[in-house]
Symmetry: C2
Subunit: 343 residues, 2 copies
């Protein structure tokens, strides 16, 4: 194994002292980069995801072009339902759709649940290749969707503002919901372990729609499954949980086996530190829309953010994915501002 030249991210996750906070951006390998758009014009979404050479190329783009302190493998959270036998369509600019949604026990029984992680070999090949290409420059992040978020898509069939159908499924057929959540959890654990074996230095679990749940329902439908994943992965690699919008769960998450927790911009750094008692690494929470502000404003806001979180036990990131309309030099200004932060 090549030794890491830049291990700021892993140090921050272990709670070790760093000379400055590490920085990366959710969706950093994506649509705001002209070189990504060129590849998008040549290959459809799942070709990009399932061809290790393409996934690696895309993963490396922001390392070379924006200078982030970590690579996150280019993939999608919906490869899991796809590997469970559910058709997933990805139309550019429209978001995903899953024509056959989960409604009944029979639908769940028909899902593929054994050997799913083995069918995702392209992911491990992409991690392997990326790891080699990185040659120790920065750590590599693996990831998966959280069970609640995956259920949302499997039941709803597409994106939603309110996730009504997913919630109705959970509230009217809780036993079925838990069955499905557990199946996704079991598969996700095996999948993430394989990602670590293939080269991921840490893994992040994206619960993008956790924030649609009340604190009480989060504890029923999201938290137990997130925590199972954190516990199962702990012997393998540090885990970052990102239940977007679920600031109310920060106290509980601090007591979990996760090493880091992602937060969005709708909470002050002070409040986040208070709720986590400064005893878990926090990742976030720059408003992606703020990347559209003039560069001097971005730099100022980054300094304010790091000052407020404090530079230790902290990973500078956005509070959600970078949007396609962000100019590359604005993304770079964000990253540079973190890198030039002096303690």
């Amino acid at each position: 194994m090549t030794e890491l030249k830049n291990d700021l991210l892993l140090k921050a996750l272990r709670g070790e002292s760093v000379e400055r906070p590490p920085v990366w951006m959710m969706r950093q390998a994506g649509r705001y980069l002209p070189d990504y758009i060129k590849l998008r014009e040549k290959y459809d979404f799942f070709t990009r995801v399932q061809t290790p050479e393409l996934a690696t190329e895309i993963t490396l783009q922001p390392i070379d072009q924006v200078g982030v302190d970590a690579a996150i493998i280019f993939s999608d959270i919906l490869v899991i339902p796809q590997a469970m036998g559910v058709e997933v369509l990805m139309e550019e600019g429209k978001g995903p759709s899953l024509p056959r949604t989960i409604k009944t026990q029979e639908d769940i029984d028909n899902l593929i649940t054994t050997g799913v992680e083995e069918s995702l070999g392209y992911m491990y090949a992409a991690l392997n290749l990326t790891k080699k290409e990185l040659n120790g420059r920065v750590p590599l992040i693996g990831f998966a969707g959280a069970p609640w978020t995956i259920l949302c898509y499997m039941v709803e069939g597409k994106g939603s503002k309110t996730w009504d159908k997913a919630k109705q499924f959970a509230y009217t057929q809780p036993a079925l919901a838990h069955q499905l959540l557990q199946k996704i959890t079991d598969i996700t654990i095996l999948y993430l372990i394989e990602q670590v074996k293939a080269g991921a230095d840490t893994v992040q679990v994206f619960d993008s729609w956790a924030g649609s749940l009340s604190p009480a329902d989060f504890k029923i439908y999201a938290q137990p499954y997130l925590f199972q994943i954190a516990t199962a992965l702990k012997p393998y690699a540090p885990v970052i949980l990102f239940p977007k919008g679920s600031w109310y769960a920060l106290e509980d998450i601090t007591g979990s086996d996760a090493s880091g927790v992602g937060i969005d911009w709708c909470i002050t750094p002070q409040m986040a530190r208070q709720l986590t008692n400064n005893s878990i690494t926090i990742q976030g929470n720059f408003d992606p829309a703020m990347l559209l502000a003039p560069i001097p404003e971005i730099k100022k806001a980054v300094t304010t953010m790091i000052d407020a979180f404090g530079p230790q036990r902290y990973i500078a990131n956005l509070g959600h994915g970078i949007t396609p309309n962000v100019p590359v030099d604005h993304a770079r200004a964000f990253v540079d501002a973190v890198k030039s932060y002096s303690i």
Copy 2:
């Protein structure tokens, strides 16, 4: 003036002791009611809003059919930009669109800003007529959109998940944003005062997209304007502020001139009471999707909610508008559960 037979809502807003909490539902006059849908088939959206007899009929439907403790006038927050000279299109089932968006100083200069409240006579006529028809059964709520939320629509031109363009406008041209926010604020104050004069017993300000802002930006672009409105209206009627998603502002709002604050379901009652120090009336926060659960579950969840908030200084409501797919008997079960709560 007819004396109110049911003044629970006003008592709760004044912090007076009640025998049980009042209950109403955001969007209670709307798409889940078959009688509303019948009217929708005959008259387009703005005909319904601008014809006092129709607006009154729609406003009264949930009083008669669901038994809520307050009427809220049927209207829309976008009547303000419309009256400012901005075209607003409302296509059934698609959400609003504003073809000519605000981008420049010239766009702002071209807005109508004087006499706007006078051009909304149909609203006051509807309030007048509704007040008469209610004949003191329950209080009547007037409303307006909050300046930040109205700016969102005027700049973005339609609904958005991230309100990127609105935020970009604010972050790159803050002086213009504040100019626009102040103009909307001034008009909204006059508009709400006229609503009170026409019969509204209280007014609610809907800041539906406040939660897209970070706590720091909420304090810059939303809070000052909300507070101006609360202060200006205080001599006329109690004000309820509903900055959806902005739980982080609860402490500040408690110190404002508002009598009540609406919250969504993404905060525990305990936390909301703690942040407001139990010194402002809280309204909320039932997850609208929970109305899709079986009726016994709804009843149980209502009791749990009231127990957690406590029955005083509390208005039972949803955490956001009722969705079109809720069966009427489920809405009624929600209301009945509150009404049968015994202290």
